[in-house]
């Protein structure tokens, strides 16, 4: 699946997008974040805040949302548009 990062999450991870396959046992957004944090200090830093939001296939998704079948998962800070 494709992972997208925006705003300071993107800056901390050091890239805007990447392709990744989560290991077996990672089935929710919350578990995906926990796995990403294990991938290195830049991910640990990017995802250390509880405020990180996620979207699955362009729809807002909660930490317990299932990621099975997702093509595009995005992570970003709380929105500040308008």
């Amino acid at each position: 699946m494709k992972l997208l990062y925006f705003a300071w999450v993107r800056e901390r991870v050091g890239r805007a997008e990447e392709t990744a396959e989560a290991p077996a046992g990672v089935s929710t957004i919350g578990e995906l974040i926990a796995w990403l944090r294990s991938r290195g200090p830049e991910y640990e830093h990017a995802f250390e805040s509880d405020a990180i939001r996620a979207a699955i296939d362009r729809r807002h998704a909660k930490p317990d949302a299932k990621i099975a079948g997702a093509r595009e998962i995005a992570f970003f800070p709380p929105m500040t548009g308008g």
């Binding site: 925006f6 705003a7 993107r10 800070p77 929105m79 500040t80 308008g82």
Partner: protein
């Protein structure tokens, strides 16, 4: 019904006139224009805002908000335009316009769209000042504003 996400400047008056031109039956038009203010949240003079955006999701999310507004109020038409990219103080950032036979619906729908958009449309503001750049923090007041609509 239209939603646009763009970097280009827009003219709120002309956009609204164009929207109204197709609707002789509208009795009420409400517009909200959000402008780039001259100061950063810290109070320092602002050189510019840069709005980052997840454009594909932004269009879908704004369309969902507009559809929800149409489901709640009798709107003849609505327009949402949201810019991204670099925006200077005084420039418009967002326009919401609602057309309805009656004023209460036009007001409520425009305010609803803005309250939702603030907390759910994927845009992030970064302030440029003489000291460098800083991401704008989300405001608790925006969450409170949104909360009103779920109580109804």
């Amino acid at each position: 019904m239209a939603v646009r996400v763009q970097t280009e400047l827009f003219d709120a008056g002309r956009e609204t006139a164009d929207l109204g031109a197709g609707h002789v039956d509208a009795g009420a038009v409400v517009t909200f224009t959000g402008l780039c203010r001259p100061n950063a949240d810290s109070g320092a003079p602002l050189e510019a805002l840069t709005l980052e955006c997840y454009p594909e999701m932004a269009k879908e999310e704004l369309s969902r908000i507009e559809a929800e507004a149409r489901a709640r109020w009798p709107l003849l038409d609505a327009l949402i335009v949201h810019r991204h990219g670099r925006i200077r103080p005084g420039e418009p950032i967002v326009l919401v316009a609602t057309l309805s036979p009656h004023r209460a619906a036009a007001f409520a729908a425009a305010e609803f769209v803005m309250d939702y958009l603030k907390t759910s449309a994927p845009f992030w503001k970064r302030e440029e000042t003489a000291d460098g750049g800083a991401w704008v923090a989300a405001k608790a007041a925006d969450d409170d504003a949104l909360e009103r609509w779920s109580r109804r």
